[in-house]
C-alpha cells in the first residue's frame, strides 16, 4: 500500500497534459448532447463503462508487467478513431515525461527508448504506477476515475456548470467506478495468462464518431 503515491498520480493537477482534453465532452456539448448535470452524468456513466473500462484494464495489465507493445496494439484495436489514437499516444508521451521526472528509474527510461512514437496513455499510466510502487488496482482506479474526471472538469468550463453539480456527478459515479476498476483488474490478470484478447473491448460509437468531428473542427477549446 502506497496511498500517497496514488493520490499524487490521480490528482488532476499532476502535470501530464490532461487539462487540455475534455474526453469527448466538448464535442458532446457542441452536438447538444450534454446540456446539464443530468446529461453530463449519463455521458460520464457511458464513458466509464466503455473507454474507462478499456483504459483501466490496460493500465492494470501494464502495472502487472504485461508486455507494453502488445497492450499498445490491443489499445489500437480498441480505438478505431485515428484522432483518438493520436490523442492517446500524445497523452502517453506527456505522461511518460512527467512520470520519468517524478519517479526516476530505468524502467520508464527504457519505455521511452523502445517506443519513441509513444504508447497509449493507459499503458504508460500502468507503467508509471508500477514505477511509483503502485499495484494494478491503483492503476485501474486512476484510469477509471480519470475517464470521468476529465469530462466533468471540462464541462464546468464549457457550460459554466455549477462546479458542485459536477463533483456531485463524480460522487454518484463512485460505485460504478469501483465496479469498473474491479472488473478491469480481473481482466488484466486473465490477460497475463490468456493474452490481450481477454481484455475488455467495450466500445462507444458516439465517442468515436464525435472524436473525428471534433478533430476536424476549428475553434475548439479542448484538444480532444
Amino acid at each position: 500500500m502506497n496511498r500517497a503515491a496514488l493520490l499524487l498520480l490521480a490528482d488532476g493537477r499532476f502535470p501530464a497534459g490532461g487539462h487540455a482534453h475534455s474526453g469527448g465532452a466538448e464535442a458532446a456539448v457542441r452536438a447538444g448532447r450534454i446540456t446539464d448535470a443530468a446529461s453530463l452524468e449519463a455521458f460520464c456513466r457511458g464513458r466509464l463503462h466503455t473507454a474507462g473500462l478499456v483504459a483501466a484494464s490496460l493500465a492494470a495489465a501494464a502495472a502487472l508487467g504485461a508486455e507494453p507493445g502488445e497492450l499498445d496494439a490491443a489499445a489500437d484495436a480498441r480505438t478505431p478513431s485515428p484522432a483518438l489514437r493520436d490523442t492517446a499516444r500524445r497523452l502517453g508521451r506527456q505522461l511518460l515525461r512527467a512520470g520519468r521526472t517524478t519517479w526516476p528509474g530505468g524502467q520508464l527510461d527504457a519505455l521511452a527508448t523502445v517506443f519513441p512514437r509513444g504508447l497509449h496513455q493507459p499503458v504508460v499510466l500502468g507503467a508509471v504506477a508500477r514505477a511509483a510502487g503502485l499495484g494494478p488496482e491503483d492503476a485501474a482506479y486512476c484510469a477509471a476515475y480519470e475517464s470521468v474526471g476529465g469530462p466533468a472538469t471540462a464541462t464546468v468550463r464549457l457550460l459554466s456548470l455549477d462546479p458542485f453539480d459536477a463533483t456531485g456527478v463524480l460522487a454518484r459515479l463512485a460505485p460504478d467506478t469501483d465496479r469498473v476498476a474491479g472488473r478491469a483488474v480481473r481482466a488484466a490478470r486473465e490477460a497475463l495468462t490468456d493474452g490481450v484478447d481477454a481484455l475488455p473491448a467495450a466500445s462507444a460509437p458516439l465517442l468515436e464518431i464525435s472524436a473525428e468531428a471534433h478533430a476536424a473542427r476549428g475553434g475548439r477549446l479542448f484538444a480532444s
Binding site: P15, G17, G99
Partner: protein, 225 residues
C-alpha cells in the same frame, strides 16, 4: 544574470539545457501579457527581423485553437512547419505554468522537424496580469502590456509586470489618443522592476521591434556563450 536559474539535466524534464548530443539546445523565450496587448504582432515583427540571421520557430498557445498560429501563417513570417499551435483547454496559463507538458512536446517536435534551432518563441494565450511562464518551459520571458490597457498597469504590478525578464509597453503611438501618460508608465515600471529592463515600443514607428530584437540577440549570445 538570470540565465542560470534553470535546473540542469533532470530525466524527462524539458529544462535540460543541452541536447542529447551535448550541444546547447535552442533558447526558449516566452511572450506573455493580456489579451490584445500585441503579443502576436511582436512575435511576427521579431520573426521578420531575426529570421535572416537565426534559425527560429514559434509555439502559440491559443484559447481558441489556432487563431494566433493562423495569423502568423497568413503574415508568412515563417514557413508553416516552424509554427505549432498548442491547445490549452480554456486555460492558457495552465499550459505555460502549471502543466507545461504539451508545450514541451511542441518545442521538442519543432527541434526534431526543423532543428537545430537557435531560438524558439513561445507565445501565451491572452490572459491576465498574473500569468507567467514556468522556468521548466522557458529560459527567459517577455511581458507585453499596452498603453490602451490603462496607464496604471505598471503601478498595479503583478508577477508579469514585476518579474518578467523584459517588460514591453506596446502601442506607444496610441498614448495621446487614450490619454496615457508614458512618462508615468515608465517611472512606475522602473519602481516595480528595479534593474530589470523596460522597452517602450510602437510597431508602427520607425524603430519598430528593433529594441526588443536587440535584447533577444543579447540573451541569445549569453545563452550560446
Amino acid at each position: 544574470m538570470h540565465l542560470h536559474r534553470h535546473h540542469d539535466g533532470l530525466g524527462g524534464s524539458g529544462a535540460a539545457a543541452h541536447r542529447p548530443d551535448g550541444t546547447r539546445r535552442a533558447l526558449r523565450l516566452g511572450l506573455g501579457g493580456p489579451v490584445g496587448s500585441g503579443k502576436t504582432a511582436t512575435v511576427a515583427a521579431l520573426c521578420r527581423q531575426l529570421r535572416p540571421e537565426l534559425s527560429l520557430a514559434v509555439v502559440t498557445n491559443d484559447i481558441y485553437t489556432r487563431e494566433d498560429a493562423e495569423f502568423l501563417l497568413r503574415e508568412a513570417v515563417l514557413p508553416p512547419e516552424r509554427i505549432t499551435a498548442v491547445e490549452t483547454g480554456a486555460c492558457p496559463h495552465t499550459a505555460i505554468r502549471d502543466d507545461i507538458s504539451a508545450n514541451l512536446e511542441a518545442v521538442e517536435e519543432l527541434e526534431e522537424r526543423s532543428g537545430p534551432l537557435d531560438l524558439i518563441l513561445i507565445e501565451s494565450g491572452g490572459d491576465n496580469l498574473t500569468a507567467t511562464f514556468s522556468r521548466g518551459l522557458v529560459d527567459a520571458q517577455i511581458f507585453v502590456i499596452d498603453v490602451a490597457g490603462g496607464d496604471d498597469i505598471p503601478r498595479k504590478g503583478g508577477p508579469g509586470v514585476t518579474t518578467a525578464d523584459l517588460l514591453v509597453v506596446n502601442k506607444t503611438d496610441l498614448a495621446p489618443h487614450v490619454g496615457a501618460d508614458l512618462a508615468r508608465m515608465a517611472a512606475d515600471a522602473k519602481a516595480q522592476r528595479a534593474e530589470l529592463p523596460v522597452v517602450l515600443q510602437s510597431l508602427r514607428g520607425e524603430a519598430g521591434v528593433a529594441e526588443v530584437a536587440a535584447w533577444v540577440r543579447e540573451r541569445l549570445a549569453a545563452w550560446q556563450a
